[in-house]
Symmetry: D3
């Protein structure tokens, strides 16, 4: 498959995970542009590999993929990426209970500190989006 | 709720994740017994907290829960627990493609080494169970 | 044992680790309330499991328990929890030298970056409490 | 202080943590010699820095130091070093309950997988030394 | 650029890091084949992304790239990948002192346990290849 | 070798990694002084062990040493130390492309989140120093 296809497929997937009708560039695009001046190839690596290759694999649904992402990022403890993918999860139709569930489920595996810090990020995103756990 | 309820609920969940009609004690029970001589309360902590409290939370389905577990354990890199939960996932009805999918999806987050080592465990479990990716 | 006992035992332990005569709700309570809107069961999991089950185990004294906590959290690198448990340690009677000692002792195991960042948290807590290393 | 003093102080501390009347070279010495052919300075770095500098710091008792070590290594997940320091802890007079306590206390911080794997190492060491939890 | 170019470029880089005149398939090929039955796309992801995209970036020389790899893998603690890249480093012309240097340099950052365990892998590879630190 | 020699050698190495003609105390000195009130020996441990012992080892050049440091710290995810060593790298003559290269090379090993967060630190340092990727 030609490179342009991987990149285009990645962009399409990013669009799917972005807010519908959102005129502003998505959070993924913001991230991508943030690093353009340091490593111009990083945009392609994120879009073509991260989304074009990985998010297009068979096996998981879009929602399952984001659940997996949230659990992995909670275990890793990287909060800026958690913020992006909590938003992606809500955009793709995960309920607030599923978002919180994927993170709290890490309690026996990653421990309370990682889970509590990830929930701190959830709280900020829910407040920004005016979302509650019962939505 | 009385303690006995949390413990019993945990046991019921463990049974649900075990092979049906399996006369042998499940892998969770083996693990539990392994540590009885060191910390007699550990059995209760695993069954009542790990399964009774956490696996009974609302938000995720049983399959989503195991996908989250596999992604978290891949990121953590703890192989004995991966072996247990790959088995649990197959027992609960995850397809081999979902098991592999939850692990390979960690590539952009946890990197190739953690994913390749986790797939080494998958390979062993699939061989033991005579399962292939297309089953 | 009934659930209420685990929860009450946890609360008693949290009180023991809080400042005597402190009219304000303790830092643990603040943390607990912070997550109430996201996961109402989290309060019970922290109080009943984290404190009721784990902090009531035999084997270690209260001071040894906090030394272990500080060393584990330094290795994990989770700073909000370090802040809580540095305070808990001082409340329970650890000397400033013991608090710093438990963290600096991680140098050969967790490396300088984790230790230096944990000491940054110690410095803030000591300043807030008007404590010096020789107190 | 002259280098020879740091090295000698480190050796004295290693001896203190070794089995009394042990004619065989200690486990620390074995470890040290294992790496002599690769990095001749590593012996000095382990003895002079690891033990001479760090284990001689004020603040913690020998037993508290080993509790901190065991909690840190459990969180880190490095099993060969856990084996060494479980032995060191028993040599210095930690009870089996304290060794297990320092490791199980990490459950809420580092999660079940790290703790269970560390207890697997404890079990091997206790078997080798014919020690039970009630000794 | 077409996909076939990324894959071919990756293969060329893998060949460069393999032993000259080696009739056997390289260790990277072995790894690749090991996972073919689980995830047929993994071969492409490793060759095209891991080597074709990343190892062809500007900025670092081949030797610097392997030094960076060894330091990262030591910090991560993933031993099978360390074995592969210690071999790759020697194949590309790193001296044994550079290989050991990149690993021991992690002492202040990743701590002694990760470094000692990585040196255990170095020792095995040096023995297999009949290499000493002074070669 | 006498202690004073290790300390002096460490100071000389720190000076080498500092900006020439810099009247202000270097970032390493700032770090050192920051912790003086908590652990007066920490200054000696950083200067004598961290720099005097480790940065004076044979095997790697100064530039290779900083590449290794940047890759290790990216994997570890400790941003304050990344800031210091990105500066040290530029001071010692690493090009901006080498600094970015050592970090981006961690993509397949440590994953995108750690690399993106490390590049965020690079961006700040480059802005402070008025440096671009093509300098």
């Amino acid at each position: 498959m030609a490179e342009v296809d991987r990149y285009q497929r990645g962009l399409d997937i990013i669009k799917k995970y972005s807010l519908e009708g959102n005129d502003e560039i998505s959070s993924v695009q913001q991230l991508r542009e943030a690093y353009r001046s340091l490593a111009p190839d990083l945009e392609d690596l994120i879009v073509s590999f991260g989304f074009g290759d990985i998010y297009s694999r068979e096996g998981l649904t879009d929602k399952e993929r984001t659940i997996a992402t949230l659990s992995g990022l909670t275990t890793l403890g990287t909060e800026p990426q958690l913020e992006l993918h909590i938003n992606n999860g809500l955009n793709i139709g995960l309920t607030p209970k599923q978002v919180v569930g994927a993170i709290v489920h890490m309690l026996p595996y990653a421990g309370f500190p990682r889970v509590l810090n990830a929930l701190g990020v959830v709280k900020q995103v829910f407040a920004q989006r005016n979302v509650t756990i019962n939505d």
